[in-house]
Symmetry: C2
Subunit: 288 residues, 2 copies
């Protein structure tokens, strides 16, 4: 077991409260008074999650949108965010982007902390939301016979990242992802399982399969891709597109645009199949 | 205006929700259903808030205790924490300390994020609590004629930090501060204003005075110090002791151990006086 896996396993031992969902979900789900609160915290580091030369306004956008995407996967309505900000770079551009993204999603800044740092910038955001449907959707819950649906194409962020790196072409999909909050709320009452695809479709589908103790079989050619056909296998493994991945009973057609990309089977030897065969090699981004 | 002050002023412009308290308080205070939720997020950076050579177990302790201290200042009962962790150093020792401090305060880990980083470690923690008394105490609210009380001495963390740096003597007060949760809950129904002293008594007292639009006059010799008398002025400016600072109506004697260290006056020219005279120079740690 790697030091990282050991660390996360040890954390799991501390996360015994039911709200923590064993750290196997995108969010904590906390019953408080008459409400169900949804909580998520994501960290982004310069050099790992964003490029040092990126416009800080885009970094702010992505930090907020990626957290709101976790709320979307719970069908939650955002309440507000807390920001952990390390000064450095063009802080005024960061605030400009933060202002834009919070206005776009109509989410208030509730608090946080601003510090001086010495090294690469590390930024944290906590997002809170309230559940609009109970039970709150989870990664677990997929059932044999369910169909697997994806709300849109994958690979757009990969192409956009390449454009950003070479400084030519359309990089918007990487810089300014969308959090599918309305789609998440519409799907929440219908799904057996739901999550957002942040680390790669194959990796995240395997996580859903493992959390549900099922096998998920994906039809390789059914997955909508934003790339040329020659790059299909890469698109299936690249993250940052923030589509919603849902398992729905076979008799339900999703009421939002979505593509049927596979099905849920009783758990076999492998949690994930691609056209019936367990894929080998990297499935996506781990421990980002 | 410095870039830092400009940044925080710009953030304030985004924090228009009443729960944010204009970013002038230790915590956000959010009404949700029948409960009042208290939220705080603090960040600690290697080389700024802790030494690279410190035991990661102590870093974990302080990260949690300093956030719980913010909850204590609201009279809140902790619900749980979310951790933003950057791998690096002895991660197993960090988990050991995290386990200790969460068990000590009986607070569960609810979620968070673990990332790989490239530079100095930056760690974030979000703590949630529920109010035990409403209205929830604030930094603002101090009234003319109130007495100012402090729950214990200052300067112990300063001596402990010096011991830690030279590797000799008792460094516990710096490494393992206490969050005065029980004291905060007992005081909450009585106080006009309350906050924890994390950045220096004089600086934090001035913040209370400014938030309350009052002047606070501190009796220099009435402040209990843990240092030799010769270092009194330093002790009044050093942080990390996490005592509670409260303004109480003159007819109330606090029901927990505390020292009367001054009084609240109508707002004069200076927000802070020390023996009747506005102190000059540094009052504590800004923008840590």
């Amino acid at each position: 077991m790697s030091a990282e896996s050991a660390f996360i396993a040890a954390l799991r031992g501390l996360a015994t409260h039911p709200a923590a969902r064993g750290l196997n979900d995108d969010c904590a789900v906390l019953e408080i008074g008459s409400e169900t609160l949804i909580l998520t915290h994501d960290v982004m580091a310069e050099g790992v999650h964003f490029l040092a030369q990126q416009d800080p306004a885009d970094v702010a956008w992505k930090l907020v949108a990626s957290n709101l995407s976790d709320l979307a996967a719970k069908g939650a309505e955002p309440i507000g965010v807390l920001l952990g900000y390390q000064l450095g770079g063009d802080d005024a551009r960061f605030v400009a982007g933060l202002s834009e993204v919070l206005a776009h999603y109509n989410v208030p800044l509730l608090g946080g902390d601003t510090i001086s740092g010495t090294g690469a910038q590390v930024l944290g955001l906590t997002a809170l939301g309230r559940a609009t449907h109970r039970p709150v959707p989870a990664r677990s819950g997929a059932q044999p016979g369910d169909n697997l649906w994806l709300t849109g194409s994958v690979g757009a962020a990969m192409l956009a990242f390449e454009a950003l790196k070479i400084g030519s072409g359309d990089s918007l999909a990487y810089r300014r992802p969308a959090a599918l909050l309305a789609q998440g709320r519409t799907l929440a009452p219908l799904v057996s399982a739901m999550m957002d695809v942040s680390d790669g479709l194959l990796l995240d589908a395997r996580r859903m399969a493992e959390a549900s103790d099922m096998t998920i079989d994906i039809d390789r050619m059914a997955v909508p891709i934003a790339t040329p056909e020659a790059r299909r296998d890469e698109a299936l493994r690249w993250g940052d597109d923030y589509q919603l991945l849902v398992a729905l009973p076979a008799d339900i057609t999703p009421p939002v645009p979505a593509h049927c990309i596979g099905r849920v089977l009783p758990r076999g030897t492998a949690p994930l199949l691609l056209d019936g065969i367990a894929p080998v090699g990297t499935l996506g981004y781990e421990h980002r």
